[in-house]
Amino acid sequence: MKNMENKRKGIKSWNPLTSLYLIIVLAVVSILFDFRITLLTVALMIVLAAVSGEGASFTKLWLKSLVLVCVICFALQSLFIPGEDVLWSFWIFAVKREGVQKAVVLCSRILGVGSAILLGGKLIDMKHLTAVLEERGMSPAATYVLLSTANIIPQMSKKMSAILDAQRSRGIETDSSLLVRAKAFFPSVGPLLLNALVSAEERAITLEARAFSAPCRKTKLREIADTPRDKALRAALISILVLAIGGRIALWIALK
């Protein structure tokens, strides 16, 4: 276990609570100020992912999900929000300055918070984080909900892939036009939901069989180091957060 911990690079070697603080600070800072600060924060997140050995996977995920969402949001907002100042027009479409301004604000927020969440997913080991949170007094039921929520997407996508294979094997097309995919919706989602219900019941029984709610002290299988460096980092991150919020309030008062 110790060797495995030592192999973790960059932020992955931090105590998960410290990493969580970092993610919160990055998310808050990215939405407090204007889009230039957001872009800087996002650039910093890419660098942090790279030094932690997750640069390629983070950037790929970021491009596939957030950038796509932002492009769509930007196009919709800039084209359809009413305004007087038309910057560019074609046929029935017109890009208005007011729309662009609102789109920049919305997209920078999506980009900032979304990137921080994606980075957290890449850098924080949820098992370690829930162990630390439990150590600090969070109830096991709450940490279980947290952990199972974090695991639900990868588990469901794995399950969905098995279900799609099974349905394709019985003659249901799943990879064609939108109409064909729509027809495959019920055969795909039906087993997924039924499986989820069955496995939820089984998981509850398994948890009880493993004394999940037994009113006694639990044995810990994992000791997660909380080094002086982690403590110093957390103090620094809290300071940055307080300074950022304070700075934003001061700026708001000054501009008022």
Binding site: D165, R168, S169, R170, G171, I172, F186, G190, V198
Partner: protein
């Protein structure tokens, strides 16, 4: 021309891990074949290439002389049926009847033929009295027979069963054994992945042994099971009957309990 021709199949995952290495074999109509081997030997990946679920990195699979590469898995479903390990990945209809009927409707089979096939598949799998039952009210071992019935009803030439014996009691094993026999008599090719060597010894004419992504033995079940070194290499346990026959010094290779018992009786006098 063989019903199924597997030619020099290899498969690599996108991360570069090789799951199947240069696998070749043929299957004739009416043959029943067991593919055995350790977990990770490449059995499931190989059979997933038979219906196009996985596209080979190199090599080819021909069904009745036509490459699976030219068809989608859904199109291949008319020729190659696949019963997955977990029946719950497939079942979503409210009754067993509707579940079996669903694939037939997709294939646009006419009503009369549809009913005939459902009745036949239900009889073969012991599902006749459960046709109006919700599949989720049945135990897992019986839900497996629901998925087997839907593949039988689709009347494919090749039927692949992935771990059909898992969780089955004696009744279930007997149904599997009987339907294996009936389907091969009807000219269907049955390919079964299993870890149950006793079941293979009792029910299969031919065995393909896979080890470390390759086929290391392919032949008559009794010939393969009596090769101790092959079985050990594949980390497989020889069936009790074979071990007893070998310990007793029996020269003839047999999977027949009566023959073995008679040999032991004769030699113990």
């Amino acid at each position: 021309m063989a019903l199924v021709e597997v030619k020099n199949l290899s498969f690599y995952y996108p991360n570069g891990y090789q799951a199947v290495d240069d696998v070749s074999f043929t299957i004739e109509a009416g043959e029943n074949i067991a593919i055995v081997g350790q977990n990770g030997a490449g059995k499931t990946t190989t059979v997933k290439m038979l219906n196009g679920l996985t596209k080979p990195s190199s090599g080819d699979v021909l069904i009745n002389g036509e490459s699976t590469k030219n068809y989608t898995t859904a199109q291949m479903a008319r020729r190659v049926g696949y019963v997955f390990q977990n029946p719950d990945d497939q079942i979503f209809n409210a009754t067993v009847y509707k579940e079996i009927e669903y694939g037939l409707k997709k294939m646009k089979v006419d009503m009369g033929e549809c009913e005939r096939r459902i009745k036949d598949a239900a009889e073969l799998t012991g599902m006749t009295k459960y046709l109006e039952t919700n599949p989720y009210d049945l135990p897992l071992s019986m839900r497996k027979f629901v998925t087997i019935a839907s593949v039988i009803a689709s009347n494919c030439d090749v039927m692949i069963f992935d771990e059909p014996t898992a969780g089955q009691d004696l009744d279930g094993l007997k149904i599997l054994s009987d339907l294996n026999r009936v389907l091969t008599q009807r000219g269907k090719a049955i390919v079964t992945i299993t870890h149950d060597m006793e079941f293979v010894a009792d029910n299969y004419d031919r065995v393909i042994v896979m080890c470390q992504k390759k086929v290391i033995a392919d032949g008559r079940t009794k010939d393969v099971f009596f090769q101790k070194e092959i079985m050990e290499k594949a980390m497989l346990k020889q069936p009790a009957l074979v071990r007893i026959a070998m310990e007793a010094g029996m020269q003839e290779k047999t999977l027949d309990v009566k023959k073995l018992a008679s040999y032991i009786r004769q030699n113990s006098r």
